[in-house]
Amino acid sequence: MFKLVVGMLLSTIIFGCAKSNVETINIAGSTAFQPFAEKLAEEFMVSHPEIRINVQGGGSAVGIQAAQTGVAQIGMADVVTLPKEAEGLKSIVVAKDAIVVIVHSTNKIDGLSLQQIQGIFSGKLNNWGQVGGENKKITLVSREEGSGTRDSFRDLLLKDTHLAPNALIQNSTGAVRLMVETDSTAIGYITHGVLSPEVKALKIDGVNPSPRNIRKGKYNVVRPIFLLTKGEPKESVKEFINFILSPQGQKIIADNGLLTVVK
């Protein structure tokens, strides 16, 4: 018993105080930007071994909260406009992310108008025949309430129309894509960065969501990705943000499917 207690105490001390002179930066928030942040952190730590970067997900709301409370030195948020919870935080846009409406690759439809998309996602149009496709029921796939992608999709496309309650809800971009990949009547929305050959990104009002059109601003279903810091950031944090905005960092972002903000 005594040995056990001593062992527990010792291990707490050892694991709790395993500090050295390595500086740690915590980053938390948007799950859409998380994989990019991880790659960027990996590259950054190669050239800066004295800095350790922990990247965590949690969602945009968590990112804002973590930056406000100081739990994370940098919060990530992928929202169209920053909510009032983010008041007082310093924000910088490090990348942009397009949202595309996807259908199964065998679907005859290539594009929809904004009204048609609103009609379909609000449940008023529930058959592909109503928008010029085959006579089949439409299966809606959406993200869960509170998701940054869903909020952006609502702000950019749905506007005042409400999502139909019978939409299937999946809690990650990958799961939405999997549903659409395997169901020839499904329609969903994901970020442009994770398109796969089994799904087709639809033209919206005739504009193809090609990388060129997105970069030129023709395809405008685009949301910014914010990094948030509380007050003036520390030297190491500044260095990391500068790295993201440097040509090397922006190349990592572009290579993995997001849009760069710096020319």
Partner: protein, 319 residues
């Protein structure tokens, strides 16, 4: 010396004190050794007691925490508005979980319907017909089903059951039916192994008596053994229900998670657990409280199920 020993006696067992008063003057080395061990034993016993109590404390803390976080929103919306409303849209301030309660009930009932015939026949075969050797191999294998991570079950449902159901029955794939089939398989080991144990617990004289009266093997099982093992099987079913109600990951993947009241078995539904897991990441303020309140409803459901299971099991023992 005597003081120390008396202390040990006081702090520990009565028999130690009795022991002391009897042999007050005639200590032997043996005695001292005995008492030292006794005091060590008491210390260990006390330590174990503290550890055992701490699990209860943890349970209490969890209950308190959930109540503290979730009760305010229930009080604000009203129990009726919370449990009897189907409008769940937290960003518009609507917190009704009726659709999810119904969804949970449907999926759980479906899972039991799928699982019961399978697990019962499995248990009857393994307990009454198979040789001990076959039973010794098959029972651990069935129990292995319980060890497969639920995310694997969910994935199997997505890639195997979705296309099957979509192509042959219609609908989108995620539905009450899909979730019931997968959950039915997941609770199979729970019900089967408890049913086997309770069938085996039926005294052998019952079987001999029935067979000697001229009953066939099937008649013996149906009219003697099953009724005798009824309580054990029932508590197994209730534990299975508990597991089905609490399952989260697999259900999120295969139930569709739409907040609607289902009209057919092919409609998607959202369960209580799925609701919490889906939205917890993002929830703040009232939304977060509403998810904790969903947790309260689940907690109470599970407590009630466990109480029922225990009452049934105890009834079985008394008989």
């Amino acid at each position: 010396m005597e003081l120390v020993l008396a202390k040990v006696g006081n702090g520990g067992r009565n028999d130690a004190r009795g022991y002391l008063s009897h042999r007050n003057d005639t200590y032997t080395a043996n005695n001292q050794e005995h008492l030292r061990m006794k005091s060590r034993e008491n210390l260990i016993q006390f330590g174990l007691l503290i550890i055992a109590l701490s699990t209860i404390v943890i349970l209490l803390l969890i209950a308190l925490f959930i109540l503290k976080e979730g009760l305010p929103i229930i009080l604000r919306v009203g129990i009726k508005g919370f449990i009897c409303s189907t409008h769940w849209s937290p960003q518009q301030g609507q917190f009704g979980i009726l659709a999810m309660i119904i969804g949970t009930a449907w999926i759980t009932a479906g899972a039991i319907l799928v699982s019961l015939p399978l697990s019962l026949s499995c248990a009857i075969y393994l307990s009454e017909f198979s040789t001990p050797k076959v039973r010794g191999t098959l029972k651990p294998i069935i129990e292995l089903l319980a060890g497969i991570p639920s995310v694997v079950y969910g994935f199997m449902g997505m890639v195997i059951l979705f296309p099957l159901i979509r192509n042959y029955l219609g609908g989108a794939g995620p539905s009450i039916l899909t979730a019931s089939v997968i959950l039915g398989i997941m609770i199979l080991p729970t019900i089967t192994s408890i049913a086997i144990d309770s069938l085996q617990a039926v005294p052998h004289s019952y079987r001999e008596g029935s067979l000697s009266l001229g009953a066939t093997r099937w008649q013996t099982i149906r009219m003697v053994i099953l009724p005798a093992a009824k309580t054990g099987i029932l508590s197994g079913i209730i534990l299975g229900i508990g597991r089905a109600v609490g399952e989260t990951m697999a259900v999120i993947m295969i139930a569709g998670n739409s907040v609607i009241i289902p009209k057919s078995l092919l409609d998607p539904v959202r369960t209580l657990t799925a609701n919490i897991a889906l939205e917890m990441n993002y929830a703040t303020g009232d939304h977060r409280q509403a998810l904790f309140a969903t947790g309260i409803v689940l907690f109470i459901t599970i407590i009630i199920l466990n109480i029922i299971a225990h009452t049934i099991a105890r009834g079985g023992v008394e008989k």
